[in-house]
């Protein structure tokens, strides 16, 4: 019987939520790694029993955990993330140059093709790759050569938080970095290109259409159309039809175009989801109503999805990695909040249920569709 496994990272541990294909009854296991910040947990598309987890605290630093049995047991693997060569400097909050310093792993992106290959997005922003199942990590330094000296941390830190793989071309990756922008490689990470044309940041940057410096919050792609990208920027929801060559705004009738996650339906490439947040100074839903917005037209025209979600006095946030989509026939959606709730929809967002409501603040949500 098919089913789903939802991997939830929180401020104080990880939780694994499982259900059959109906997604009405849930088993909850955890906390795993109790007391640790679990920024991201993700399974390998090449082998669903292989799961990687980013575990950290301010006291003890970074660990990477690996499971080979679907999350029942875990083993710490390599945790040394050394920048390639002399790390150099980037721009600091006060405009001076500041040395690159590793702080934590924000994101783990297992390869679509090889169970032992995995990418890590880290703070201070860089991309690392392991080709031995997480035992050793090596930076792909060409990314920081792409005007890295001009990158500047945003309020949340200078983190590489998004890695999107092109399923038709293993050498093509897209990444996004807070307050630096979006970048693409077409040669497996050797060289990178800023892909920020069309982005406008008049409230955040002195040069509103600068080549780098835009605060990209998340990028999503449908695997059947790898040249079409959707972006939730700090402000503005954007779309590119040429792999990031040019972006145009598709915010349309959203009540706010500020937000963090963005996702695409598993079977409908023009169906996109965002969670509007009031503003960059007020990180909660507009009007105290938690609403997922869905566009079935690739943007511009959006409808509020509210059935089963709190529609009064709700002041939680939904972080950039805390929204996931399964690939069952009736597409399922999942998201977690900073208030500790995890919501699920088994019908493409038409209706929602609360899987669990009192976890620590949710940092990330991923889902594995199991055979």
């Amino acid at each position: 019987m098919s089913g789903v496994r939802v991997l939830v990272g929180t401020r104080k541990g990880a939780f694994i939520l499982t259900s059959d294909e109906k997604r009405q009854q849930w088993d909850i296991s955890g906390p795993h790694f109790a007391g640790w910040e679990m920024y991201h947990i993700k399974g390998s598309p090449a082998d669903p029993n292989r799961i990687y987890a980013s575990q950290s605290t301010g006291w003890f630093g970074q660990l990477i955990q690996r499971s080979d049995d679907g999350g029942q047991t875990w083993e710490p693997v390599g945790n040394e993330f050394a920048y390639d060569g002399t790390p150099g400097t980037h721009q600091w909050y006060d405009g001076t140059q500041h040395p690159w310093e590793f702080k934590r792993v924000w994101l783990l992106e297992p390869s679509l093709h090889d169970v032992d290959t995995i990418y890590a997005g880290v703070e201070d922003a860089a991309i690392f790759r392991s080709q031995d199942g997480g035992k050793s990590w090596h930076e792909l330094p060409g990314l920081r050569n792409t005007k890295g000296d001009l990158w500047q941390p945003g309020a949340g830190g200078m983190c590489l938080h998004t890695i999107v793989q092109d399923p038709t071309d293993a050498d093509r990756l897209f990444v996004a970095i807070s307050a630096a922008g979006a970048f693409r490689t077409d040669d497996g990470g050797e060289s990178w290109l800023p892909i920020n044309k069309g982005l406008l940041s008049p409230f955040e940057l002195p040069d509103k259409d600068a080549e780098v410096g835009h605060c990209v919050h998340s990028i999503a792609m449908h695997p059947a159309r790898p040249d079409v990208l959707f972006m939730q920027k700090h402000w503005d929801v954007m779309r590119s039809d040429d792999a990031g060559g040019m972006w145009h705004e598709v915010s349309g009738n959203l009540p706010s175009d500020f937000g963090f996650p963005i996702a695409v339906h598993a079977h409908e490439p023009e169906t996109v989801y965002v969670v509007p947040i009031k503003s960059d100074s007020e990180h909660y839903p507009p009007d105290g109503k938690l609403r997922v917005y869905r566009s079935r037209s690739g943007g511009n025209e959006w409808e509020a999805l509210t059935d089963g979600l709190p529609q009064s006095d709700c002041y939680v946030n939904v972080l950039r990695s805390a929204f996931a989509v399964d690939s069952l026939d009736s597409c399922g959606l999942y998201f977690g909040t900073t208030g500790g709730q995890v919501y699920a929809s088994a019908d493409s967002g038409d209706s929602w249920m609360t899987i669990v409501r009192d976890l620590p603040a949710v940092l990330s949500v991923e889902v594995q569709t199991l055979p």
Partner: protein, 98 residues
């Protein structure tokens, strides 16, 4: 044997309980004790001292015999009571919160 008390969160990694006992070759110092600890429990590498620099992580402290040894040179000898195993060497998470 040198007795080392490790903090709660790291015990979950070592699965070796609150206190571990280590044989240390040569002078017993912060450096040699931590070298021996990481050799016995390699999953602790990077959690007490930073990779690369080997510096103590900022929110950890080293105590023994009612003294804070966090700021002394890592090659200084540890107190005799630690060397003889009468007293443990404590690795402590610094207080946080208000």
């Amino acid at each position: 044997m040198i007795r080392v008390v490790i903090p709660h969160h790291l015990r979950r990694l070592t699965n070796a309980g609150k206190e571990v006992q280590l044989a240390v070759e040569g002078p017993v110092t912060v450096q040699s004790v931590l070298d021996a600890l990481e050799a016995e429990y390699p999953m602790l590498r990077g959690t007490i001292r930073e990779h690369g620099t080997g510096k103590r992580r900022a929110f950890l402290r080293f105590f023994a015999c009612e003294q804070d040894l966090s700021h002394q040179p890592v090659d200084d000898p540890l107190p005799d009571a630690v060397v003889t195993g009468t007293e443990p060497f404590l690795i402590v998470g610094a207080m946080a919160g208000g």
